[in-house]
Amino acid sequence: MPEPDQISFEAPLEAAFGPVVRLIVGGIAERADFGFEAMDDLQLAVERLLVEAGSDGNVKLSFELRGDGIRTRVGPLRERGIAEALQDSEGKPGTLDLQRILSTVVDSYGVEQAADGHIVVRLEKLRGVAL
């Protein structure tokens, strides 16, 4: 089986770069033949994650274009609140937190441990029925 295409880049967490990241995520989703809605979901997932990650420093983003969708990794992230929010087995009922948002807009997500107590958030988004 061929290796999936990969794209990685690093972007400032500063809010002004949010639209740039969105544009790139959109371009990657387009190359993976995502429909508008699936692309919008992935853009929203990445955007919310970056907002929660604060505004200082840079963040790495990597994308694997797999046969059925895109695996995204965001991090290492320092923000411990993200790990805590995402490691709860279930989100708090009735709240609209990061866990609730991610579980709605991506097919699955997970938290991977990185060095120095940092985390990497993995997002899996399937192409759906766009093709």
């Binding site: 929203l44 708090k92 009735g94 609209l96 709605t104």
Partner: protein, 251 residues
């Protein structure tokens, strides 16, 4: 010798000056109202130049009317200039400032703005025709553009600005949910809402309802769009802006 047209123009100018004198010297508010009414065609004409940039024409006209009123208020009776001449840069300036405050419309290339204006309808039409969410490539083909142009045009309309969430974003001035007057359920009825509830509660009812449908009921954008009578793209933008507004509230 004056032509009939020039003569008519002078009469209008004299009538304007008389109204301006009544307003400035006698404080006659009805004279100001009459001046506004007389010059609204000018405002509408100037506003139309800025149509198709993601703002409803009526809103642009209202902004232009503010420029007109400022011009009337500032008009110096000593100056030998027609009110229309004096008001035009004021009206245009007010409209440009409005767009500048919104952060994107003036500096975005017109071609992208025009593509953005067509985007919502194209996505909805393709979704209906194909029975699924169209790909960017399909949207691009329909708009005779490249996928990158489509993505850029989408980004044009979803600028990160502090737009009023209750303001219509384009095609829909009417708010169907306000008409229906449906009660909110879900998020706001939770006991775990202390931190979130004020931020959520400050959102307009339509946005709260859209968030509830998306994140509680798990409805896709297409279904939400159908239920609230908006385009899919508009629903997407309202979701993003609402989440952003709530996050800013918590900071």
């Amino acid at each position: 010798m004056s032509t009939a047209k020039e003569s008519g123009r002078l009469q209008l100018r004299d009538a304007d000056r008389e109204l301006l004198r009544r307003y400035h010297e006698l404080g006659d508010e009805s004279a100001r109202d009459a001046l506004v009414e007389r010059h609204m065609p000018l405002v509408r004409s100037l506003a139309r130049r800025y149509a198709g940039r993601g703002e409803p024409l009526e809103d642009i006209e209202q902004v232009g009317a503010i420029g007109l009123i400022k011009a009337i208020d500032r008009f110096d009776l000593e100056r030998e200039v027609a009110l229309a001449t004096y008001a035009t840069p004021n009206v245009v300036g007010e409209i440009k400032r409005h767009f500048r405050d919104k952060g994107w419309a003036i500096r975005v290339p017109r071609a992208l703005q025009e593509m953005n204006a067509k985007m919502s309808a194209t996505i909805d039409r393709l979704t209906s025709t194909l029975g699924r969410s169209p790909s960017i490539g399909e949207i691009a083909e329909s708009l005779q553009a490249t996928p990158e142009e489509v993505l850029e045009a989408m980004e044009v309309g979803s600028a990160y600005t502090t737009l009023s969430l209750s303001a219509p974003v384009g095609e829909d001035a009417a708010d169907p949910l306000e008409v229906i007057g449906k009660e909110d359920e879900g998020f706001e009825h939770s006991e775990d809402r202390e931190e979130l509830a004020p931020a959520l509660a400050r959102l307009p009812q339509r946005e709260r309802e859209i968030l509830r449908m998306r994140f509680e009921e798990g409805l896709p954008q297409t279904q939400i769009a159908e239920q609230v009578g908006l385009s899919q793209m508009h629903v997407s933008r309202l979701i993003r802006r609402s989440l952003m507004a709530m996050r800013e509230e918590l900071d």
